[in-house]
C-alpha cells in the first residue's frame, strides 16, 4: 500500500577550483594597485604564467574575456620558461617554476614587471608579491623594496592588505 520514494542519490561536489578563482581575483587587483612605468601603459596588459596549471589558465582566460584594464585588453600568456620575447606587466612563477626567480629578478630589474611567486620565502628573495596561506585563506606577502627595484610604484592600499616583508 505504501509507496516507495524515488531512490536517493548522493549529491555532487561542484567541480570548481576555488583557489584558481581567488588567485585570478588577486591578480586582477594587482593591476589596479600598482603604477606601471609610462612605457608599459600602452598596448595589451600582459599577465604571464610560468608553469602548468590548467584550472588557473582557464580562470585567467575567463577573466581576460570579461575584464579590461582601463581601456586595455587583458592578455594571458602561458609559458614554461622566461620568454625573452615577452615583456609582461605581471609574471607569476608557479611553484614548480620558483627556481627561475633569480633569473627573473635579473631580467626584469627596472623593467616594470611585477614578479609574483607562490613559494615560502620568495618575497625575501626578490619577488614583489608572494602567495601564502594564512588562517586557511589565500593571502599575500609584499615587498615594497622589490616592487621598487622593478620600477613599480604603489600606494598604501596594498600595504594595508598584505603581510609586509621589508
Amino acid at each position: 500500500m505504501l509507496l516507495a520514494f524515488s531512490s536517493l542519490s548522493f549529491q555532487q561536489t561542484q567541480n570548481y577550483d576555488t583557489v584558481s578563482k581567488r588567485k585570478a581575483a588577486f591578480l586582477y587587483n594587482f593591476t589596479k594597485l600598482f603604477d606601471w612605468p609610462e612605457k608599459m601603459k600602452s598596448g595589451n596588459f600582459i599577465i604571464q604564467i610560468v608553469g602548468s596549471n590548467n584550472n588557473l589558465n582557464q580562470e585567467l582566460n575567463r577573466m581576460a574575456s570579461t575584464k579590461q584594464i582601463g581601456n586595455r585588453k587583458l592578455e594571458i600568456r602561458i609559458t614554461s620558461t622566461l620568454d625573452p620575447s615577452l615583456n609582461p606587466h605581471i609574471i607569476y612563477l608557479l611553484k614548480e617554476s620558483s627556481d627561475l626567480l633569480k633569473d627573473a629578478n635579473s631580467k626584469y630589474k627596472g623593467n616594470g614587471t611585477l614578479i609574483v611567486t607562490e613559494k615560502a620565502g620568495a618575497a625575501k628573495q626578490g619577488a614583489a608579491i608572494n602567495f601564502i596561506v594564512a588562517d586557511d585563506k589565500l593571502a599575500i606577502e609584499y615587498s615594497k623594496n622589490n616592487a621598487k627595484k622593478t620600477g613599480l610604484k604603489t600606494g598604501d592600499a596594498i600595504t594595508a592588505l598584505a603581510i609586509a616583508v621589508d
Binding site: 500500500m1 576555488t18 581567488r22 586582477y28 575584464k67 586557511d136 585563506k137
Partner: protein, 286 residues
C-alpha cells in the same frame, strides 16, 4: 470496503437511507444525509453515523482521483469521523473498531502518497511534511508501537536530496539549500551515522562555499575578497566533520575520499588534499 450495518446502536431512517446510498455508490448524496445526521440529537452520538460518514467521505475522496490534493478536505473529514466513531463506540464488543481502523489505515496510506507527490512533483516541503506528519499520527492510532525511525530517515533523506538538487539547479537558491540542510540534519538527529545524510550535508556545505567563490567578481577589492574567503572557509569547515564521519565509518567510500580531497584543497591544505587524492587513486586501482 464494507460498512457495518448497525445492529447494536439505535437506527434511524436517515441512516438507513444513507446506508442504501453508500451501497449504491452514491456517496455525494449519502454525505448530504450524514452531514445532517451528525447534528441530529438522535444520531449524533451514534458511532455508526460517524463510521458511515467516514466511509462516504473516504470513497468520495478516492473517486476524485486519489491524488487530488485539492480534495484533501474530504480525506480530512473521513479521518476525523473515523476517530470520533472509535471514541463513541463504547459497547464492549466494539463493532466498528476493526473497520474504523481499516479506514484509518487506508487514509494514512493516502496521506503518505500525497506527501510524496507534494514533495517530488510540487516541491512543496511544508505541505508535504504536514501530510507526512498526518500519516504518522493516524498510523499511531492503529499501531501505537509502530517504529517510524526507518520511515523518517527515508522521508527526510529524500527531502534533503531533492532540495539539495534544486539548490544546484536553481542557481544555488539559498532557501532551497536551507531546506535541504534542515531535512538532512533531521536524519542525523535520528541516526548520526547515516551515510547518505552525512555525505549530502557535507557536499551541500562545500557547494555553498564553492558558490561564494564562483559568484565572486574578479575585481572585488582585497578587503572584500578576504571577507568572502572567510565566509567560504566557514562553510568548508562545516562540511569537514560530515565527510570525516563517513570516512571513519567506511574508509573505502569513494565519494568521501573525493570530497575530502576537494574540501582540504579549498582550505589550502595541500598535504591533506594529496593524502586523500592518493587514497582515492589506490581505491580505484583495486
Amino acid at each position: 470496503m464494507i460498512v457495518l450495518c448497525n445492529k447494536v446502536y439505535a437506527q434511524s431512517d436517515s441512516l438507513d437511507k444513507a446506508q442504501k446510498l453508500c451501497n449504491e455508490k452514491k456517496y455525494v448524496e449519502a454525505i448530504v444525509l450524514l452531514d445532517k445526521a451528525i447534528s441530529n440529537p438522535e444520531t449524533k452520538n451514534n458511532p455508526h453515523t460517524w463510521h458511515m460518514r467516514s466511509y462516504a467521505y473516504l470513497q468520495s475522496f478516492k473517486l476524485s482521483g486519489n491524488a487530488n490534493i485539492s480534495k484533501i478536505n474530504l480525506l480530512d473529514t473521513s479521518m476525523s469521523s473515523a476517530i470520533l466513531s472509535i471514541k463513541l463506540d463504547v459497547d464492549s464488543s466494539k463493532p466498528y473498531l476493526e473497520h474504523n481502523h481499516a479506514f484509518i489505515k487506508n487514509g494514512a496510506g493516502l496521506y503518505y502518497k500525497l506527501s510524496t507527490i507534494l514533495l517530488q512533483d510540487s516541491l512543496n516541503d511544508i505541505k508535504s511534511e504536514k501530510l507526512y506528519l498526518r500519516y504518522k499520527s493516524l498510523t499511531k492510532i492503529i499501531n501505537s508501537d509502530f517504529d517510524f525511525k526507518a520511515r523518517d530517515i527515508e522521508y527526510y533523506n529524500t527531502m534533503g536530496s531533492i532540495f539539495a538538487d534544486l539548490y544546484m539547479k536553481n542557481n544555488f537558491n539559498q532557501k532551497q539549500g536551507e531546506i535541504a540542510k534542515k531535512s538532512l540534519q533531521k536524519v542525523l538527529e535520528i541516526d548520526e551515522k547515516n551515510i547518505s545524510a552525512n555525505i549530502n550535508l557535507g557536499i551541500l556545505y562545500y557547494n555553498q562555499g564553492a558558490t561564494l567563490m564562483r559568484m565572486m567578481d574578479y575585481d572585488v577589492d582585497l578587503a572584500q575578497l578576504d571577507i568572502i574567503q572567510e565566509n567560504a572557509k566557514k562553510l568548508f569547515k562545516q562540511s569537514l566533520p560530515f565527510m570525516i564521519k563517513v570516512y571513519e565509518l567506511d574508509p573505502n567510500t569513494e565519494k568521501a575520499l573525493e570530497s575530502l580531497e576537494g574540501i582540504y584543497s579549498a582550505l589550502l591544505d595541500d598535504e591533506k588534499a594529496n593524502e586523500f587524492k592518493q587514497k582515492k587513486e589506490a581505491l580505484n586501482k583495486k
